[in-house]
């Protein structure tokens, strides 16, 4: 594992290599080399199992982070490849040719974050939502509470009853309210 990470660090001049455990490492790579690196690991180092792909919105830095997590079944090790996209032009090279399940991941990320993957099959189709017209709903600048209030019929505020008063009003409406005895005075 260490040798593989050493090799790719030199080959792709990686920064920020983190060994989370002995068998899991995360590396940051430039956007233009990300798919090359995934392909290299798949073809040369038998990282043949694609675990998952995810996206994080770092709105303060103006970036989206994409993570490709891949697994080597022989060595039983994982490598997470992180890459960063500009939030204003979120476009990423598609990796659909490597594993077919990436089609679905990319379709989901397109809908949830609005990141485009040109050339990925069916990437423009609806994934979960139908007829969505707002900005992508998983972006952090999308205000879900405000959208819900505007679109659906909002609930009419919460209110609570004091249990003792409420039960007295309901069960014994005609009985006069007696003041509670203050035991300290006696």
């Amino acid at each position: 594992m260490k040798a593989i990470v050493q090799e790719i660090t030199e080959k792709y001049s990686l920064q920020n290599v983190v060994f989370q455990r002995d068998n899991i490492a995360f590396v940051d790579v430039e956007k233009k080399f990300a798919i090359d690196l995934v392909t290299f690991l798949k073809d040369y180092h038998q990282f043949s199992h694609f675990v998952m792909m995810s996206c994080v919105d770092w709105i303060e830095d103006g970036q989206f982070q994409l993570l490709y997590l891949i697994h080597n079944p022989t060595l039983k090790v994982d490598i997470g490849i992180k890459t960063y996209l500009n939030r204003t032009e979120p476009t990423m090279q598609s990796a659909h040719h490597l594993w077919k399940q990436i089609w679905t991941y990319q379709r989901e990320i397109k809908e949830a974050f609005g990141i485009d993957f040109p050339g990925s099959p069916n990437v423009d189709e609806n994934f979960v939502l139908e007829g969505w017209t707002e900005i992508p709903h998983m972006r952090r600048d999308f205000d879900t509470a405000a959208y819900s209030e505007k679109t659906y019929f909002p609930r009419e505020g919460r209110f609570t009853h004091d249990p003792a008063t409420y039960m007295r009003e309901k069960l014994y409406p005609n009985q006069p309210v007696t003041a509670k005895k203050n035991t300290n005075e006696q």
Binding site: V128, L129, E130, G131, W132, T133, E134, H137, F142, T144, A145, Y147, S148, E149, T151, Y152, F153, P154, R155, E156
Partner: protein, 238 residues
């Protein structure tokens, strides 16, 4: 091979034309109004959305004379055929109803698989806009008189999903609801109690929500269309 290429080009041209003409159309290509060649060789016009469903507005049905209607209501109350719409978490409470422990059959309640055979509609828990569309289609396909039981607090005011972008808050703004069964989640006993309440309402002649839907049809449709942006079905799905 040439004919194949021609066909492909034709299809591509057609889809490009459609895309440029109205980008906002959500109607699927197979549902579009078009001309086709029938088996006998003649050319006919088809409109798949309206050919299989009636777009006519639902009609209000007036109750019959006193005694007759009373008898009918008694009969209706004793045979409740349920369509369960289990997309929310509450649907897990429906299967135990049909076990020996709770045994809903003793109250004349039985489950059916399709809207065309049922007259009571249990909607369990939260509804996203996507499932609301299916709820409306199913509800409108049920024969009248029909009743709706809303199960769980999400159908009353959104419950814990009140601020979600994809789930609706109040079901009764989109279809009329006869009985609410509150709770998160209501137990099967609560469901049975809901059925008893529904039977009471039917016997008293108060479960007339299907007529209410017909009466306020435009209002309900406006609410539905406000949130279902990709309206690609007939206005009334009977």
């Amino acid at each position: 091979m040439e004919t194949m290429n021609d066909k492909i080009n034709e299809m591509l041209q057609r889809s490009a034309q459609n895309a440029s003409q109205n980008e906002k159309s959500f109607i699927r290509p197979e549902d579009e109004e078009r001309e086709v060649i029938a088996p006998d060789g003649s050319t006919i016009k088809i409109n798949p959305i309206y050919d299989y469903f009636s777009g006519k507005k639902p009609q209000e049905e007036k109750p019959l004379n006193g005694v007759v209607e009373k008898f009918l209501n008694w009969a209706r109350a004793e045979s409740i055929w349920v369509l369960g719409f289990g997309t929310g978490c509450g649907s897990i409470e429906i299967p135990p109803l049909m076990t020996p422990r709770f045994d809903a059959y003793r109250f004349g309640v039985q489950m059916r698989a399709t809207p065309r055979q049922s007259n009571a509609f249990i909607i369990s828990g939260y509804l996203s806009v996507k499932t609301l569309k299916r709820v409306i289609r199913s509800y409108e396909q049920m024969p009248s008189p029909k009743y709706v039981l809303a199960l769980g607090s999400c159908t009353i005011n959104g419950g814990m999903y009140y601020d979600s972008y994809s789930t609706i808050n109040r079901l009764d703004k989109y279809i009329p609801v006869d009985v609410y069964i509150a709770g998160c989640m209501p137990r099967p006993e609560a469901l049975l109690s809901g059925f008893m309440k529904l039977k009471e309402l039917i016997k008293e002649g108060k479960a007339e929500k299907a007529n209410e839907y017909a009466r306020n049809f435009d209002e309900y449709k406006a609410n539905q269309k406000k949130i279902i942006k990709d309206w690609n079905m007939p206005d009334y799905n009977w």
